[in-house]
């Protein structure tokens, strides 16, 4: 009898948890969404201004980025998600990826491909790189 009561209590709790998960009253208001998005854009604007203030370093970062990408295969077409990984490598080295064509569209656009040659017209390497 005790075991049966416990099981029914568990079933009731599970159902209550499900009701709570689906509760529309727990959704953020459109005002809150707008405020959070406003904060996001403000932070992005501050960061962009900071990059503009560091112009000499931006050129050095772009060169480091080109050299990193060359190590990943030179002028080979890269699928969208692999480019995400490449972007992660670049960011891991503290390099801006503002050279990525079309930002998020590069990852989700129709042909889902981007050519590394889009990012540079020429470079020199301090390290050996495979040629494809």
């Amino acid at each position: 009898m005790q075991m049966t009561r416990m099981t029914k209590d568990d079933q009731m709790l599970d159902d209550l948890f499900g009701t709570a998960r689906d509760d529309a009253g727990m959704q953020p208001s459109s005002d809150l969404m707008a405020r959070v998005l406003g904060d996001a854009h403000a932070v992005q604007s501050e960061a962009a201004q900071s990059v503009r203030d560091r112009t000499p370093e931006a050129g050095i970062e772009a060169d480091i980025w080109r050299r990193l990408l060359a190590l990943l295969g030179g002028w080979t077409p890269v699928a969208g998600l692999a480019l995400t990984a490449a972007a992660g490598v670049g960011i891991g080295f503290g390099v801006s990826i503002s050279l990525l064509p079309d930002g998020i569209e590069t990852l989700t656009g129709g042909n889902a491909e981007a050519y590394l040659s889009d990012l540079s017209t020429g470079y020199t390497l301090g390290l050996a790189a495979e040629e494809s």
């Binding site: 009731m12 727990m26 969404m33 996001a40 995400t84």
Partner: protein, 192 residues
């Protein structure tokens, strides 16, 4: 941008794009993460205005953290839930007050009035019972059974071991059963 493709981009990749000024990434991250952050804060604080403040602050901290985000370490959601938990703890310690009923929100017109009343009664009953739990039990039970997280992730958020999480959840559920057991019939759960 194809709608389906957006949902395949993981949070940390979107955060990278956000850090580089992509407004689409900002919007997708907000749509994806804010409901979870706000919902959890609301369940912890039981006060809509306080929960909005906590949710907005947590997301602001994420935006500021984005340029320093290290790939392959914590999940974005784990980091966010931990920030929300800490902000909620600060608020609860200051106010020492937990509202037992939330401000009602407009409900779906297609649902019958009786069903709406029963849903509201059940949500309020669970919310009231959760509010009586010690904060850590409430947090663990909510993260597991309402946010749907696994015990290892909850352990990381709460900065305790997995066994400690399991213990908190077990104790929390026992307390909830004790608090709600006598209200089964009232809440529409027939005792056969």
């Amino acid at each position: 941008m194809p709608f389906d493709a957006r949902h395949e981009i993981p949070d940390d990749a979107l955060l990278l794009l956000f850090a580089n000024g992509d407004h689409d990434a900002a919007r997708i991250l907000t749509e994806r993460l804010l409901p979870r952050v706000f919902g959890h804060a609301l369940r912890m604080l039981r006060d809509r205005a306080e929960a909005e403040d906590v949710a907005q602050e947590a997301m602001l901290r994420l935006w500021r953290q984005a340029p320093n985000w290290r790939q392959g370490e914590a999940k974005v959601t784990t980091w966010l839930y931990r920030v929300v938990a800490n902000l909620c703890t600060d608020r609860l310690r200051k106010t020492r007050h937990v509202a037992l009923e939330l401000v009602p929100e407009p409900l779906d017109d297609a649902v019958s009035a009786e069903a709406r009343l029963q849903t509201k009664a059940r949500v309020d009953a669970l919310g009231g019972a959760l509010a009586t739990l010690p904060e850590r039990q409430r947090q663990a039970v909510t993260l597991r059974h309402i946010e749907g997280l696994g015990n290892p992730e909850i352990a990381e958020i709460m900065e305790i071991g997995v066994e400690a999480v399991e213990s908190l959840i077990a104790r929390g559920k026992r307390s909830l059963s004790a608090a709600l057991g006598s209200r089964k019939e009232e809440l529409g759960y027939a005792d056969d």
